[in-house]
Symmetry: C2
Subunit: 524 residues, 2 copies
């Protein structure tokens, strides 16, 4: 099959630029999603049944759509609630992690921590479709905030600076250096004389350079990086410029990582969150399928043969063991858990299930007595980044401007930092989050702290990890084996997608899995 | 007085970088605002009175604070409503412009056009303070949207592209070119060997270059510019990269202007808007001072002498002429109107009043039957920019995801484009906005259009222009003359500030003006 890109390249070579743009318009712009609308799966054979394992979003979507298609659907869920990693912790909730530590969450009414997903890109069309269909109200999630701080132990004497200051200085210096290189004829092989003039004009305007193509302390650069005294009113209204940082510090701060982060397709504006916490989505899905769910059901064995699928499960309260049977099975259990369940799946699929490690991640919610980041620092939503283990603190996007407490995300750690935090007690994690987060708000952070909660995903009993981490090699060897229908069983979840660690991946995987399973069932 | 910047520069020279950052922390970061909290103006002399001319935000804030300080305050307002340029047009409203054309606004319930201010920067602390004090609910205004389109007649064959595509390509090419220049030793005078290595690493990561420092079609660059086929789930989950644009087109598109725009201090995230339209702010201010306002009062003469201030005004309905007297006067009338009012202000102040031209600007609201920009183009808030007269279209930041109609901003023209649109009838303006805006949404724009409204500020009877446009020369010659207290009279408004054309400028100007007037009154 000729891909759109191959076609466009061919058109470009044959017809030149004008033809290329003509074709672009005819064909539409770069695609934003693989979602093609809710599936049409009508016409299930009478009496055909499906067992769905796991009531995360992938499992519940499979159950919802297969049930609509005419299948008899039943869901087995290990926990006493639906939603899986789509989950919010509220005041009054209790959570016990692997290792036995139990936290009683003490957040004020209306405040929460989202331990798992917490933001929704505008191009995650499957999720947005079902949010609307199932009545989940969404509000903007402020992702990009020029006022957030960046902190790197190796730059600026270890002091945090505003994103705007460092980013403006990075752009200004890059523009000045490239302008200098152009003047020194270093790029004459690449650029015509007209190109050079136009590019220099662009660099001057983008980088806030002066007429001599220099990036300096003046009211021009201050428009981007901020002022020592901002413009005001009346007699003392005139602004005073600020002093750019030394470029060596700007580069050492790795501000470019933050700049690139905000340009990542999945991080680009506009982003959203459900009103009231991410867990509202899991609850809305659960309302659609609640009569199908058996809770507290720990799956211990998955067996398929010519007659059908038999799943053995134990009631987590009573310990009593039951067998459930069906014609087909959608297994939406995370791979690390599934890998420990006895099954007779094909060897290549078993290898795939075992091959994909899960990332760790630690999130910590900290309730502060007042929203000092708004009143004192003028930060509304967005993040402050640090080279410390907590990686960032993120400011809440709800109850803006309100008096009273606010819950901020005090850590979103991954990699080695996450393992260090996961190795601590919940109390030690809070202490570490307070110690490290204080770098951004030194006078207030500890003073205003009231109560906190943490989730270390390596210690979550029902996933034992955060989400699947594929690499180029495992994709090549195992991905197609993992996703293909194995007789009567198909896997679904973010692990069976290229949108790993996102709810959208779970949903797109689920739609693809059930479409193929339905086709196989009709052909049986 | 040594400025903070001078001090920091001195510290930097003496103590080196570490001392500089130490000082930064001690003194706090670059300042975000000149607002120092609500003023404390208590202790007015018993019976002292102030006439405030104009009930825009500057006038109403002056009245509110002077009244609290103990002055007897009265406001004269030309229109039959308070708020001035803080104004929203709703369905059912009628508006007659200079020239006589009358528009009856037909927007659906709950939708509006903000002819004047429409977005609030997070560092406009004065405005945010009084919004909270007066009970104005705010919601996020999505300013920066990577999914918005950019259109320039001179690039991409005249077709719009997504901001993300052009911005990613600009950054990628700039990074590649600078990397090349570094390798060609063009910058060896500026950069040490270690600097070069670190900068190349930064350019690679920021510009999404490959290991050979090239910006190419691959999954790395696609992470920023988007995909031909984005990542998905199941069998066909693997993404396909998109093809970067020719750099010559990217530069010709002037995407760098948009990139620089979003880095402007006043355009940086987070921005806000009042729930229900910008006019909610004017209404909230008006609730505080409503008993003081005389509406339909056209000021025709301002006279001051040793005894006090006498203001002559005509009732715009009956034509009857009245004189009002007071001890002092805060004049918040726009300069173009004030310049036509007989007065005995000092000659230098008269010159200043006459010296500052007002910008024009045209805004057009277009109601569409459905929010196709969201459902079809995945654009939630933000802007699409064009080199045509309309300059941009902006997508509404309220009622997101809803079915039913939406009102978008179909033009925010300035300069020559604004004069061309202002010269048209309201019907012709709508037609021009539809014709030009269709470049972004060719299949749907005209088809979904229902009703529109426009405001050309050069034709607004009570301002005859949008806002004051100072330049370096007029600032030097006239600014201090304009703002200084002239015996019993002081001017207030955005024109008397360095935050021109923003509500914050009007408020900061007002606070500064009344503080000085109060001081003068106590010294009298």
């Amino acid at each position: 099959m000729t891909t759109r890109r191959q076609l466009l390249t061919a058109i470009g070579m044959m017809g030149g630029t004008a033809a290329l743009y003509q074709a672009m318009t005819t064909m539409g712009h770069a695609s934003e999603t693989q979602y093609k609308g809710a599936p049409d799966l009508s016409g299930a054979r009478s009496g055909a049944s499906v067992l769905v394992l796991g009531s995360g979003l992938a499992g519940m979507l499979a159950a919802y759509e297969l049930s609509k298609a005419g299948y008899k659907v039943r869901i087995l869920e290990y926990q006493n609630r639906a939603g899986g990693r789509n989950w919010s912790l509220y005041g009054g909730d209790t959570y016990t992690e692997l290792g036995g530590a139990t936290q009683k969450v003490g957040f004020a009414q209306g405040h929460y921590l989202n331990p798992g997903p917490w933001r929704i890109p505008h191009h995650h069309r499957t999720l947005l479709h079902y949010c609307k269909a199932f009545g989940v109200a969404l509000e903007p999630f402020i992702q990009f905030n020029h006022s957030g701080y960046v902190h790197n132990a190796d730059a600026f004497g270890g002091k945090p600076v505003r994103y705007r200051e460092a980013a403006a200085d990075f752009e200004g210096n890059v523009a000045e250096l490239l302008g200098k290189a152009i003047d020194q004829k270093a790029l004459d092989a690449q650029l015509t004389s007209e190109d050079k003039d136009k590019l220099k004009e662009a660099l001057r305007g983008w980088g806030m350079l002066d007429q001599d193509m220099k990036y300096k302390a003046n009211l021009f650069s201050a428009e981007h990086r901020g002022y020592d005294r901002p413009p005001g009113g009346g007699v003392d209204g005139a602004p005073i410029a600020s002093q750019p940082f030394p470029f060596r510090d700007v580069v050492s701060s790795q501000i470019w990582k933050n700049m690139a982060f905000f340009m990542n397709h999945e991080m680009q504006t506009t982003m959203f969150q459900p009103v009231g916490g991410m867990g509202m989505i899991g609850k809305a899905f659960a309302r659609q399928v609640q009569t199908m769910i058996t809770f507290n059901a720990k799956v211990t064995k998955i067996h398929q043969d010519k007659a059908g699928v038999t799943v053995t499960y134990a009631d987590t309260a009573s310990g009593s063991v039951t067998e459930a049977t069906s014609d087909y099975c959608v297994c939406a259990i995370p791979l690390g858990v599934l890998n420990q369940i006895e099954n007779n799946l094909a060897p290549a699929k078993k290898s795939a299930i075992a091959a994909v490690p899960y990332s760790n991640s630690v999130k910590i919610g900290l309730q502060m007595a007042r929203r000092f980041w708004e009143t004192d620092d003028y930060i509304y939503g967005g993040h402050s980044f640090t080279s410390q283990d907590i990686a960032l603190i993120s400011y809440p996007n709800y109850h803006l401007f309100e008096d009273g407490p606010g819950v901020l995300l005090g850590a979103f750690a991954s990699g080695a930092g996450a393992y260090r935090l996961a190795g601590m007690t919940p109390e030690q994690r809070i202490e570490a989050a307070l110690a490290q987060g204080s770098v951004f708000h030194p006078g207030t952070y500890r003073k205003e702290f009231q109560t906190g909660a943490s989730v270390a995903w390596s210690r979550v009993p029902w996933t034992m990890g955060c989400c699947a981490r594929w690499n180029e090699e495992t994709r090549k060897t195992h991905y197609q084996e993992l996703v293909k229908v194995d007789d009567r069983v198909v896997l679904a979840g973010e692990h069976a997608s290229y949108v790993g660690c996102w709810m959208e991946g779970a949903l797109l995987s689920s739609l693809d899995a059930i479409s193929r399973l339905h086709k196989r069932a009709l052909e049986a």
